[in-house]
């Protein structure tokens, strides 16, 4: 976990308000666990003041590059989208616990379920799973056709199902609609997206799995207790809460209350 200034190599708008930023620097080689995130200082000075948590989407260790994909939501991501190649971005990372994959063995099938800007961290996960010989199925959900991003990249690695809320592409409905079809066809699931989606996915899933949570953060390193969530059934004498920034953002399904 380090503080570093990474140089912007590329800034591209993938879909309306969805940007991919490619960064380079020596510290990239530490950022290799899928599901971890960077705490990004989008601009020098006090406007905005706090860092913004953004998941690592892809890593290329040889080229010392990594990419993040983010949606312009408010002031911070807006400012980030205005930064241009050549400029440096102050990042703190990699933070948190990513998606565990060591327990899987060749031939296993993993179902990846992502919604909106919860999709990016699943991409690097998919890459590592495939490299390990795991079969990957991906369900990624969007509001409408024009919001779709990362489809082609996922298609190279996995079976991809697209869902759109308005049915303009793929399965009409939510990611859980598409999960119906995959019932009992996977050994583990990994999911990231808006909280209501996570709840639904956890419920619909027919295997054990992992969920990646979001919460507003202060420090990002476990010191301020801004980002806590409750443990589902804490053992006697054990902590009743988890810090999403450092105990998460990824938790085993059922471990914490979402």
């Amino acid at each position: 976990m380090i503080v570093d200034k990474l140089e912007i190599v590329k800034q591209e708008e993938l879909a309306p308000k969805i940007f991919e930023m490619t960064l380079t620097g020596n510290s990239v080689n530490e950022m290799v666990t899928p599901g971890q995130f960077l705490h990004v200082k989008v601009a020098d000075g006090i406007d905005p003041l706090l860092r913004r948590p953004i998941s690592i989407c892809n890593v290329d260790i040889d080229q010392k590059k990594l990419s993040i994909i983010y949606r312009v939501e408010g002031k911070g991501t807006k400012r980030l989208s205005e930064r241009i190649p050549g400029e440096k971005v102050d990042i703190l990372g990699p933070l948190g616990q990513g998606f565990p994959i060591d327990q899987l063995i060749q031939g296993n099938t993993a179902l990846l379920v992502g919604g909106g800007v919860g999709i990016p961290p699943l991409y690097y996960l998919a890459k590592l799973l495939v490299a390990k010989g795991i079969k990957v199925k991906t369900i990624i959900g969007f509001r409408t056709e024009k919001d779709i991003f990362l489809e082609k990249k996922f298609a190279k690695l996995s079976d991809v199902t697209i869902t759109t809320e308005d049915g303009s592409r793929g399965t009409k409905g939510f990611v859980t609609t598409a999960m119906e079809e995959q019932k009992n066809s996977y050994d583990v699931f990994y999911t990231c997206g808006p909280t209501p989606m996570l709840r639904a996915v956890q419920l619909a899933a027919t295997s054990t799995g992992y969920v990646s949570l979001e919460e507003r953060m202060g420090c990002g390193i476990g010191a301020c207790l801004a980002c806590v969530c409750d443990v589902n059934e804490p053992a006697e004498g054990e902590k009743k809460y988890r810090k999403i920034c450092c105990d998460g953002p990824v938790f085993e399904a059922g471990e914490v209350v979402i």
């Binding site: 706090l50 202060g218 010191a223 207790l225 801004a226």
Partner: protein, 311 residues
């Protein structure tokens, strides 16, 4: 030689900089970034008699030039802190200031008494200014009679010096300061956060689950400087100044206003290296500004003024 050290009751500090309570946990997270020996002192998170789970999330929100928080004094409780957190801090040669909170006078007294007996506790910081809990906290911090009563009770049992952390959410900060000084406080910490709110336009509701939160960061610095300036002229006990410190110049400003040391809160979230960087920068800035001994500038904002008026 630039002299950075300052001596306050119970706190022999290598330099005037400590992380502020609640913004540094019990130090472990930051020890992964740098050697905590570098710090002038450490103010740890508020400790209450029993474990507290704090407020629901969201607990923080960003605002222009600052942030709101309503953590709600989540902490593992006196026993756990005594057994696990404080012993871990023993390995550092840095004075520890323990922030003590409670609902009733008895709670404060109980925690203060126990914790003040622990070897590496250099001083107690009485938290009468947390705006994010229903009981205790701010109630004491906005009523000078109650604040004085609490201070007296804690002083009676504490083995170490007692600093009282004041709330800025009052009409008359000087009156509060004088009341706790008269009740025996060894020092003051100021300021805690201003009570604020942010509303989410999409939901129409406050962003923070607790609705209101404490405003910290650069936005509150002018209020903090003003209060330190006023209070330092009215009391004899030293002040640990805080509120929006993000640069070495901010530290100098607080000390010129009358603070004898400073605490750094929100800046630790922006940059985990904030405290050591500030300490290095402070030394550089002192050289640039020809300040040899940091203690020489304490209260310069009003001392030279009073001098020029009397001469």
């Amino acid at each position: 030689m630039t002299k950075l050290h300052v001596n306050l009751p119970g706190l022999k500090m290598k330099n005037p900089v400590m992380p502020a309570s609640g913004c540094f946990g019990f130090g472990q997270e930051f020890a992964r970034f740098y050697d905590l020996n570098k710090l002038g002192a450490i103010a740890v998170k508020a400790v209450t008699a029993h474990e507290r789970s704090g407020n629901p999330t969201p607990r923080v929100a960003e605002v222009d030039g600052g942030m709101l928080n309503a953590i709600g004094l989540q902490n593992p409780g006196l026993e756990h802190v005594t057994k696990h957190e404080l012993p871990w801090l023993e390995k550092f040669d840095t004075p520890i200031l323990v922030n003590v909170a409670g609902n009733e006078i008895e709670d404060y007294v109980h925690v203060a008494e126990s914790i003040s007996k622990i070897g590496n506790v250099a001083a107690i910081e009485l938290n009468i200014s947390c705006p994010n809990v229903k009981e205790g906290g701010l109630l004491f911090g906005t009523d000078s009679v109650m604040a004085a009563e609490l201070t007296k009770a804690v002083k009676a049992v504490s083995k170490v010096p007692v600093y009282v952390k004041l709330s800025p959410n009052v009409t008359n900060i000087v009156e509060m300061a004088k009341a706790v000084e008269a009740a025996g406080a060894d020092g003051l910490c100021m300021i805690n956060t201003l009570v604020g709110m942010k509303i989410d336009l999409k939901t129409g509701q406050p962003v923070i689950a607790n609705k209101t939160g404490g405003l910290s960061g650069p936005a509150i610095k002018p209020v903090a400087i003003r209060m330190v300036y006023e209070v330092s002229q009215a009391v004899e006990i030293p002040i640990i100044g805080m509120g929006g410190i993000h640069t070495a110049d901010d530290i100098l400003e607080f000390m010129m206003a009358g603070a004898s040391a400073v605490a750094v809160g929100t800046a630790n979230f922006v940059d985990p290296f904030a405290c050591p960087t500030l300490i290095d920068d402070l030394e550089k800035r002192m050289k640039e500004l020809d300040i040899e001994d940091i203690t020489s500038i304490i209260g310069r904002g009003w001392k030279s003024l009073n001098k020029s008026i009397s001469s």
